[in-house]
């Protein structure tokens, strides 16, 4: 199968752009995306300290950050994909010549970029 790389790149880039712009379009979401990982990391650090494993607190914080990061990337991706399906945008993807792989890569890349910002 021949792949149109220009189309693939444009689709991937634009879907990533949508993900980043949507995340920062609503200030409440930004606050939630910051607060939830912070609270979960804090909870894990406190848990480790209360069980006498305070020397591992650094790992707990690192783990909390990674969980929050991948949770944001993957969970948000799944929920956005579901939202696209529910509101009819998924059908627009399917009838367009855009490769689905580019849409998926764009969504996840957008999620990573939005989380890193």
């Amino acid at each position: 199968m021949q792949v149109d790389f220009t189309l693939w790149y444009r689709t991937m880039y634009s879907r990533a752009w949508v993900r980043v712009r949507s995340t920062y379009g609503e200030p409440v979401w930004v606050a939630v995306n910051l607060a939830v990982p912070l609270l979960s990391s804090l909870a894990m650090a406190l848990l480790y300290q209360s069980t006498g494993l305070s020397r591992y607190t650094g790992f707990a914080i690192l783990g909390g950050v990674m969980l929050a990061f991948w949770g944001n990337v993957l969970w948000s991706m799944a929920s956005q994909f579901n939202w696209d399906k529910e509101v009819g945008i998924f059908e627009i993807y399917l009838i367009s010549p855009a490769p689905i792989s580019a849409i998926l890569v764009g969504m996840s890349l957008g999620g990573i970029l939005a989380s890193l910002r």
Partner: protein
């Protein structure tokens, strides 16, 4: 079976209406033609390409829009959304700018194009959805209830736009709708579909001429005590009546199979001592044609089931 024995040719530059009750097969028909569903038997082509074997050749030249869908991503501007959807077709930035300027001018969207979608009213969201369906300069566009829940002026603007796009840009537009006025206003031909079968496919004018029945509306005083005096007259197919008690005048609508019934109606009124204050002939509407055809379909099926 959702569709059975459907055989149609639709021309370039034609607005083709699909009318049918819920569950008639309209959506299945559009889904097959738009490459979302594969037909279990038979074949369909768009611009000469087979929908089952060559969907990758069809997708760049088609698009679709529905009145029920969400316009796009809420926290992104209308222009941003249109740019995103244009990228699904690999459209360059220069071409996109030209297309969006032209579409927003035609749909009177200029003042709203940089607003976020959640800030737009229902009418402007729908204008954006319509603009999205034309962003890739498609040859064939599928529209499912595009003016549902819109005010009169917005619906009219969208109809004018669709008619213009078909006539001047030679696009083929499939319009699935329940709105008879919309069908009459812009469709070159209409297929009435029920239970997966095309019952009839003609221009709205021919449908009304061939399947509609005219009616005579009469203002009568005093009001007739019973409508039975009309139903016994040959060629009378139905009678309805409303009474203006203040004036003591009844407005009676008599649906006739042939105009010859009118003579007999006036004689009957004179014999009953009822004065005919005024009367006029009412042309059949597409809605009446639709009810006649779909109603007949139901009756036939009931008969088939019973036997």
């Amino acid at each position: 079976m959702a569709l059975n024995g459907v055989d149609l040719d639709v021309n370039e530059g034609e607005v083709f209406g699909l009318l049918g009750p819920n569950g008639a097969g309209k959506t299945t028909f559009i889904r097959i033609l738009s490459t979302l569903l594969l037909p279990t038997s038979g074949h369909a082509t768009i611009a000469g390409y087979d929908v089952a074997k060559e969907p990758e050749k069809i997708r760049p030249i088609i698009n679709m829009a529905s009145g029920a869908e969400r316009a796009g991503y809420e926290f992104i501007s209308a222009r941003g959304n249109l740019w995103f959807f244009s990228q699904l077709y690999g459209i360059s930035t220069e071409d996109f700018k030209q297309r969006v300027a032209s579409l927003s001018a035609q749909l009177e969207l200029e003042g709203y194009i940089d607003k976020k979608v959640f800030e737009l009213s229902t009418g402007y969201r729908q204008r954006m959805t319509i603009a999205r369906a034309f962003i890739n300069d498609p040859r064939v566009v599928f529209m499912d209830e595009p003016t549902i829940a819109l005010d009169v002026m917005t619906a009219r603007r969208i109809r004018e736009f669709l008619a213009h796009e078909a006539r001047d840009s030679k696009r083929t537009i499939f319009l699935a709708t329940h709105n008879m006025a919309e069908t009459e206003a812009i469709c070159n031909r209409v297929a009435i579909i029920d239970k997966g079968k095309i019952l009839v496919c003609e221009s709205p004018e021919n449908l009304k001429r061939n399947y509609g029945r005219p009616a005579y509306v009469m203002e009568l005083s005093p009001a007739p005590s019973s409508l039975d005096i009309f139903t016994s007259i040959p060629y009378v197919k139905g009678v309805t009546s409303t009474l203006d008690e203040e004036r003591g005048v009844a407005t009676v609508k008599v649906v006739v199979e042939e105009d010859a019934a009118l003579d007999q109606i006036t004689k009957t009124l004179a014999a009953s001592g009822i004065r005919l204050l005024s009367s006029w002939r009412q042309e059949p509407t597409l809605e009446e044609v639709f009810v006649t055809l779909v109603g007949r379909g139901f009756t036939e099926r009931e008969h088939e089931n019973a036997s």
